[in-house]
Symmetry: none
Subunit: 212 residues, 4 copies
């Protein structure tokens, strides 16, 4: 491995590590990923990985930051052109669609609170939350344009509620194997056979309509 001496080399290396972590996370659950693997896949020694990320949680927080930003960007682009008066349903559909293709991102969100934020430094957490804040405000503003009935500041809050909805819905929409079987075997439980995108869209639409 060439030594990363310049600041830009180091940034590259951090990026490479994030990429590896993200790739592994798409393949397997968080607990099944160990730091040894991440380092090895990046062609580095374990100790070196720790030069770039202080803990496993910080690494994945950083991954989240990046993936989240990418998703926000995409969403932002979609929302950019919305004319005032766009129906809430259309907006909800946009959001739901943009998430439909990113199941791993949602999985990452669901471990943020219970796992990542337990063993990361306040600085890293603040960084991620700062990013989220900026984006929520920006996209919230777009929402307020599209839905003129939304009062100023309500856009970001609606998004925060949407965020909670996404996380909570994931647990219903992605049942564990035994839960899946339970649902399959009991027709009565059809209520819980939730289609993530559809349900999210419906709930989000309601949220937006109600918020307005």
């Amino acid at each position: 491995m060439r030594r990363a001496v310049r600041e830009s080399d180091k940034a590259e290396r951090r990026q490479a590590l994030r990429d590896v972590a993200w790739r592994l996370f798409q393949e397997r659950p968080y607990e099944a990923i160990n730091m040894q693997d991440v380092a090895a896949e990046a062609g580095l020694a374990k100790g070196t990985l720790y030069l770039y990320f202080a803990t496993k949680e910080e690494l994945f927080l950083s991954v989240q930051e990046q993936q989240f930003a990418a998703w926000f960007d995409a969403l932002d682009a979609h929302l950019a052109g919305l004319a005032p008066g766009t129906p809430p349903e259309a907006i909800a559909a946009l959001v739901a669609d943009s998430l439909a293709g990113a199941p791993a991102l949602i999985r990452l969100l669901t471990i943020t609170h219970a796992v990542l934020e337990r063993n990361a430094g306040p600085a890293s957490i603040a960084r991620l939350k700062g990013l989220m804040r900026d984006r929520l405000l920006a996209i919230g503003a777009r929402l307020e344009v599209a839905l003129p009935t939304l009062r100023p500041g309500q856009g970001a809050r609606a998004l925060l509620h949407g965020y909670a909805l996404i996380v909570g819905l994931h647990g219903l929409a992605e049942p564990t194997p035994p839960a899946r079987q339970a649902i399959r075997d009991n027709p009565d439980l059809a209520l819980f056979a939730v289609d993530f995108a559809a349900e999210l869209q419906s709930a989000l639409a309601a949220l937006l309509r109600g918020q307005a």
Copy 2:
């Protein structure tokens, strides 16, 4: 320990174990509770506990079933008398209030998907989900009475969305120690200093209004 021979003795013992587990869960996080302690506090040996609950997760799923039922009962009683035309805000307030006093129950909900349903039998999961279904439908029906604009079947779905909201909001409203510090130290992040009850009420109200 007297042998639990009759079916009723066994049921009592199961109940005693649930009670112990619930008490411990109110005192400490799930990971900090071990089966040894549960058994010992109930005056039983570890192996005996396993005669009553096949896994730690099944035990807590059973605890959840019970606590959930109790909470549903209380909520049901509150909603029972609602006249048609009750404003969604009032209903949201009722729900939020009924949860405000039960933080442990919410904590239990948040580990259902990520933890409990990973190592429990489909039968136990089906039991819990069956209970939920019944209650969701019953309370959903009450909602439909109170909010006549709600179409048939929409009540239960609104509740399902509310459930997701509760779970997701918990992660925002109960920051981990480093997250708490991050929020405290960065005034910019005030957006994330969420008051659970207030935020839930607001979001639920929007959901109900929008759903209708």
Copy 3:
């Protein structure tokens, strides 16, 4: 492995584990012994070992207790028949000889303070110290018989000083490989080429003479 159900079975198992630990300790340094090896050599699983000894340090504290007791017994037998008026040199020689054949025991003593007593429960430490106290007092009494000039109570204290001497002398008498080489290569350092038994005898004799 047969289950150790009766108390006597368990005592046997504890003993077997102590035996294994002691054997390994005679072969290699403390740091080179791991709990996995101890368990495996005793035909048990690692976890089972922890049912019998809470930490590695407790295990070796228990080993020390036993080996120490054995050494004390041997010494006691030697000292038992000493007539009043035995010269201090003879007594010192007895002690030095009894230790000469037990280099591992001395090595064990030297890690007691720096290692074992750092991660063991007060109860285990108290047990060992209690044993030592009893023996020091008993043998101290014998010393007082053999050396009538010793005032009551001085016997045990002399032994305590002797204990310190033993531990301290070990560091000089058993040089590490590089220290050995340094001494070998520099004739000037002959002063530090210490013969443990001889030096201990000489110092102990002086101590006893001076104490009297």
Copy 4:
């Protein structure tokens, strides 16, 4: 950092490093000190530190050399004026007092054999031992003047035994936290509640009396 080109610059730098190491050692245990900190506190990079000291152990061996020399000097000054016929008790008191104010030095002595001499070059060890030899002989000679009954050469040997005593007594006089608790909780163990200075003085006096 200015480059240390001249020999005197390098000596200064070595000294600065020793000073930092000694300061840190007075604050915390050896294991809690890392080379990174030593270098940083001296305003150097880690790698630079290794230009001056080949290993962590060599660094602390060098620290010991210096501190030891200082202590010897002080002791030597105290002993210089002793008239023939000084009682052994007075000499022992001098030694014990001179050590009483230097607990870190004793701590450093106790890790010499078990730690420092395990990973240092024979040359460094020889240097330290050479220093010790010179001082032991010099002070030994003074002892022989003060205690005329001491045969030639016995002075240095008595000091060597004293050295062993100091190291061994330290383990008894500075119990670890659990050992301290064990002693506190069991009145029977009062025998082990040793006051370092007092016990050392008493034992040293006996040693000197007996050696004479």
